[in-house]
Amino acid sequence: MSSDLLNFTDRGIYCPLGDFYIDPWRPVERALITHGHADHARPGHGAYLATKAAAPVMRHRLGDIPLDTIRFGETRQIGDVTVSFHPAGHVPGSAQIRIEHKGQIWVASGDYKTENDGFSEPFEPVRCHAFITESTFGLPVFKWTPQSQLAQDINAWWASTVADGRTPLLGAYALGKAQRLMSILDPFIGPILTHGAVENTNEVLRAQGLKLPDTIRVTPELNPKEHKNALVLATPSAFGTPWARRFGTTSTAFASGWMRLRGVRRRRAADRGFIMSDHADWPALNAAIKETGATRIFVTHGYTSVFSKWLNEQGYDAQIVSTEYEGESLDTAEVETA
């Protein structure tokens, strides 16, 4: 398959004509990075290329890396191929990477969601011949609550929890989901207190010009009593630790796509589970793939075997590729730290 623009190797997705990797999981000379989550942006590469909007978080997480940036839509010649980055709607700065050579177009989409969260650059369909898609939620049981409904549910929970004299403790990823939640919280109910891991990311995003609501960092000196009606936003790993105990009686909640499943919701032993994901749900995965016009589909992390079988039945030429991406895994939902 010498005409393939991308190969799947044990180090990552490789482009032989441009001699670079996309989101590699072993150290390589040159890496194009879709976004700053730890399973896509890893340390140790010789050179990095990512969008301007993704760069600050990557520097925050990976330190002083040799990082070149590119604007959305800007084209760049690398070796024999033309490369451009297009919004993936997953988190701020997240991109699909488009590669073109003599009219052949391949797109590696990293992680994506198609719903506009009002905060990440909205997903942009890119026409291509071959499309690399995730399948984190590639089963027909996964369908998300519209964000407007979600906002109502979360704010209602916040208001009723503080009315009961308890503190709402909401768990989410430090990058992306935490800020997305902040953007839909109702500031009239009370202030938002943030765990250090969340607030560090907030600072990076604010510094690059993103508008985020006001938040108060939880420091050892902070007296929760001085912040009436506050909601606490933390990484799930902070739940049940001494850190969380200072808030007294709490009502706990997680925001994750997995909360769609009652069994998972109950096993988390949280009081509430809000269905919110930065990955595409079943209808969105199918719609996104259709819109690319691609005939060849490569299915990466998630329900790969089921989803590729389904795509093949729909007339695509779909195959599974194994990668080390984690998607929104249950284990990370629990222990992810920034």
């Binding site: 089963l139 027909p140 049981v141 096993r267 089921v306 389904w310 249950l330």
Partner: protein, 529 residues
């Protein structure tokens, strides 16, 4: 069903007992009598008969969702609950109607008289007018098994609050063979003189495992009996009939026809609490003998002679039509002994003898000898204790012998269902036979959630082969398996079957080669089988 859906949501969204009870109480205060009655029924394990097979439901759901059946079947184990899987794949409904819970229950019941295609239309119509939560509940009604985080005990407590009735009295009222079709809310819950239901059992008094002998005080306050390894049963003799109830409120009368002869020896108006046991030549047989009788609705003659059962009685709850439960245990016990003293040898009722002791040391020795008597341990009962309802601390304790244990190697893993979907929780264990690992038991419980998560991550990375949902894993981890009994079993490759196996410890300290052997198991079979 919107109010019932709200109740479900309130219960489902909390892990706190008080919040659940409060939500149930509010519901019982506001719902119609029919809906209340059905709610009581559902939460006490009574449900409408199944009127559609799950095979049909799966097919209809896949079709309505516009997906192939295989895709539905792949999704089901991930979700872990059929009613929920169906609710999740269906497209949004178009119009919403609100009918009471009892309307939908009648709807489900009425399906049985319909032809298959009209039945399908009826189910599809229901799906299209219900919202997602209601659909899930409707599917639960269709598929049976209504376990949603509310125990009979919680429900009874809420009902007591809503009606101002005494909880123990309600518990008694809710026992027995009633269904919403045979009674109504008023007769069941409120009436001064509940309609005489001669078969109605008393709520069983259950004991906790004793953790500290020192807290019991003086030995003279206590009586001890052997804790028999049979089926707890309540035998009711009223109105010239007899009824035998299990602790799980199953009517077992027909399964143990021997006990019909109790009427020849014991007067009407008597209720006995005891253990149904296989019994021969003056001694209880092991549970293995009784096991052959379990699950049989009718009993062949041969089995009746091989494993004849008796009720080994240890308490007298009713005598001459009087409820004796408030009387001290010692008095009830004396009456029971008098009543059974002169029964002929072949009477199907005997009195489980007291274990004599003067010091706690005597008792500990008696406990150590439990297995020799085919007993699980001892029961300690305070001499002046009334017969309470449900599991209560203080007056009664069970003091079981330590379980048998064996160290085994995990070789297969399978994901759990429901709350445990997405976690590997069902494992097969093996012991060494030379250089081979021979599977001998499965176990599902005993690990903490954190341990299950840890082993799940390990299984994902160490799968050697898949057989459908079952994964063969690298033999690496040794677990201590605890169990209550062992018996010969030609159906198993290892030749043995264990009783109540569970993982008691993850033996991180134990190298693979030091797990037990098939010979060790066979030796245990010799000693304890």
């Amino acid at each position: 069903m919107k109010d019932f859906a709200r109740l479900f949501t309130a219960i489902d969204q909390t892990t706190k007992t008080n919040t659940k009870v409060a939500a149930l109480t509010t519901y019982f205060e506001t719902a119609t009598e029919d809906d209340r009655l059905w709610t009581i029924a559902l939460f006490s394990g009574r449900r409408p008969k199944r009127t559609v097979t799950t095979t049909l439901l799966r097919g209809w759901a896949a079709e309505a969702a516009g997906i192939p059946l295989w895709l539905f079947e792949e999704s089901y184990p991930i979700v872990g609950d059929l009613a929920e899987t169906i609710a999740l794949v269906l497209p949004e409904g178009n119009q919403h109607e609100d009918h009471p819970l009892s309307y939908w229950i009648n709807y489900v019941k009425s399906l049985s008289s319909l032809e298959e295609d009209t039945r399908k239309t009826a189910v599809l119509n229901a799906w299209s007018v219900l919202d997602p939560t209601e659909r899930f509940l409707f599917n639960k009604l269709l598929t049976g098994g209504f376990r949603i985080g509310v125990s009979t005990k919680l429900m009874t407590r809420a009902l007591a609050r809503a009606t101002g009735q005494d909880e123990a009295d309600l518990q008694h009222r809710l026992m027995g063979s009633w269904t919403p079709e045979t009674t109504n809310f008023h007769d069941l819950i409120l009436s001064e003189n509940p309609e005489a239901d001669l078969s109605k059992p008393y709520p069983f008094y259950l004991a906790y495992q004793l953790d500290d002998l020192d807290e019991l005080g003086s030995t003279t306050d206590w009586k001890a009996e052997r804790k028999w390894d049979g089926i707890r049963g309540q035998l009711i003799l009223r109105g010239g009939e007899h009824y035998l109830w299990s602790r799980g409120e199953d009517l077992m009368t027909d399964r143990f026809p021997e006990l019909a002869r109790a009427r020849d020896f014991i007067p009407d108006g008597t209720v006995l609490d005891g253990e149904v046991l296989a019994f021969k030549d003056g001694d209880p047989l092991s549970f293995n003998a009784l096991q052959k009788r379990i699950g049989r609705k009718t009993v062949p003659k041969k089995l009746l002679t091989e494993a004849p059962v008796i009720l080994y009685a240890y308490d007298l709850l009713e005598w001459q039509g009087q409820d004796l439960r408030p009387e001290p245990f010692a008095d009830r016990r004396n009456l029971l002994e008098t009543l059974t003293k002169n029964l002929p040898e072949d009477a199907p009722i005997k009195c489980s003898p007291l274990v004599p002791f003067t010091t706690w040391d005597d008792l500990a020795k008696a406990r150590d000898a439990s297995r020799d008597h085919n007993a699980e341990g001892l029961m300690l009962k305070r001499a002046d204790s009334p017969y309470l309802s449900g599991r209560k601390k203080g007056d009664w304790w069970k003091w079981k012998v330590d379980p048998l244990t064996i160290d085994a190697v995990m070789i297969y893993a399978q994901a759990g269902h429901g709350r445990r979907a997405n976690l590997f929780t069902d494992f097969t264990f093996a012991v060494w036979n030379g250089n081979d690992l021979v599977p001998f038991t499965k176990a599902y419980s005993g690990l903490t959630d954190a341990e299950f998560r840890k082993i799940t991550g390990w299984v994902r990375k160490n799968t050697l082969q898949r057989f459908g949902p079952v994964r063969q894993v690298t033999p690496e981890h040794v677990f201590e398996i605890a169990f209550e009994g062992i018996q010969e079993s030609p159906r198993h490759k290892s030749g043995v079957a264990l009783r109540f196996p569970r993982m008691s410890r993850w033996r991180h300290d134990k190298p693979l080669q030091e797990a037990n052997t098939l010979d060790d198991l066979k030796e245990m079979l010799q000693t304890y089988g």
